[in-house]
């Protein structure tokens, strides 16, 4: 690391980061005092990657001393990666920096530190004039999981940026306050952006509020498949038997991921799905028959065996294979009926 050429020293630091050997840390801390900013920048980044808390104080000192934007960015980022609680006050100073990039990285870093002291600052950042800051704050407030943020995140569901609305929806789901159900339902039904409707469905699945059931059933017919898929998943989380029929209908969806999500939801609902799934084995659509067979296999109820045996004779291989897999999943009770079929052909 004594090489006079700054590029050599920077690259050596980066290489030490790739090696990931903590024996390099004392040498890297020494190099953090390098006279060249590009070397400090590289070393700060590597110290964040190596994850040794001994680097916290030297990084704070570097941050205090530097005037270079890139060194500040890499140092703040490293302090975030190290979850450096000692650095909170130093990071907070940069939340209102006039440079947008530094503000962004400080907001992200504060979220990564994950300390509750960050909450008031994140709430303030949620209403910043810069879109990217609001977007980060909306996400970070979810990771901090503090109910104080709920009313502000609900307000952020009306933000002009779709990323803020989307991140706020997810955060409300993570925090888990049912106070958010109605505003999230509005988003599912009315937001113009599919990604927002998608994440709002996911959030409603996390909240498990029965009030969301009817809107989620409506979302099963959304024009975007991500929304239909997450609506099915959310209904699986709610687990109500009244959603069996709408979910069975989704086994026919033109998009494979939606069909699979509907099947998994029916499996989560469990026994109340059995009768409709057995009936679905006779559906005209091969995808419905296939997904119904797979679901019955996952439910492992021997009541489905005779209906599944018939599907071993389906004209489509995918249905026959799904029925066979289902019988394998059901296990021991399937053996004799299968043997009986072979005996019947002789």
């Amino acid at each position: 690391m004594g090489d006079k050429e700054r590029i050599v020293r920077s690259n050596a630091a980066k290489a030490l980061g790739t090696l990931g050997d903590k024996r390099a840390i004392p040498f890297l801390l020494e190099a953090l005092l390098d006279e060249t900013d590009s070397v400090k920048e590289a070393v700060a980044e590597v110290l964040g990657i190596l994850g040794d808390k001994n680097a916290v104080i030297p990084l704070i000192n570097t941050l205090k001393a530097t005037h270079n934007k890139q060194v500040k960015i890499k140092t703040i980022k490293a302090l975030g990666e190290l979850k450096a609680e000692k650095a909170i006050h130093e990071i907070i100073r940069y939340l209102n920096d006039k440079d947008k990039d530094i503000k962004e990285i400080a907001t992200e870093a504060l979220g990564k530190v994950g300390d509750v002291q960050a909450i008031p600052f994140m709430i303030e950042a949620l209403f910043d004039e810069v879109d990217s800051i609001r977007e980060i704050a909306a996400q970070v407030l979810g990771t901090l999981k503090d109910k104080r943020a709920v009313i502000y995140l609900i307000k952020a569901l009306q933000d002009s940026s779709w990323i803020v609305r989307q991140n706020a929806a997810v955060s409300l789901g993570i925090i888990g306050s049912k106070q958010a159900t109605d505003p999230l339902i509005k988003l599912v039904l009315n937001d113009d952006n599919w990604s927002v409707r998608w994440k709002a469905c996911q959030a409603l699945g996390m909240l498990k509020d029965k009030k969301a059931q009817t809107p989620l059933i409506k979302a099963l017919d959304d024009k975007d498949w991500h929304v239909r898929k997450s609506a099915a998943e959310a209904l699986g989380e709610l687990g109500d038997k009244d959603t069996v029929k709408p979910l069975i209908n989704k086994l026919e969806d033109k998009e494979r991921f939606v069909r699979e999500a509907a099947r998994k939801a029916l499996v989560k609902i469990g026994n109340p799905s059995l009768t409709d799934l057995i009936l679905a084995l006779e559906h005209d659509n091969k995808y419905v028959r296939k997904e119904a067979a797979l679901a019955l296999g996952e439910l492992k109820d021997k009541i489905a065996i005779s209906a599944l045996l018939k599907k071993l004779n389906d004209k489509y291989w995918s249905v026959r294979k799904a029925a066979s897999d289902a019988l394998i999943n059901i296990g021991e009770p399937s053996i004799l009926p299968l043997i009986t079929i072979i005996e019947s052909i002789n």
Binding site: N313, W317, K321, S324, S334, I342
Partner: protein, 36 residues
């Protein structure tokens, strides 16, 4: 010709299932299928 409408395509997945279920009672029936 197979009886009871069981096609070779059906027996293919039945053999697969019996193989995966790993039960000794399936030995003789599987040998029967082997001779088909």
């Amino acid at each position: 010709m197979l009886q009871n409408n069981w096609t070779p395509e059906s027996l293919e997945v039945i053999a697969l299932a019996l193989g995966k279920l790993k039960d000794k009672r399936a030995l003789s029936p599987l040998i029967t299928l082997l001779k088909h």
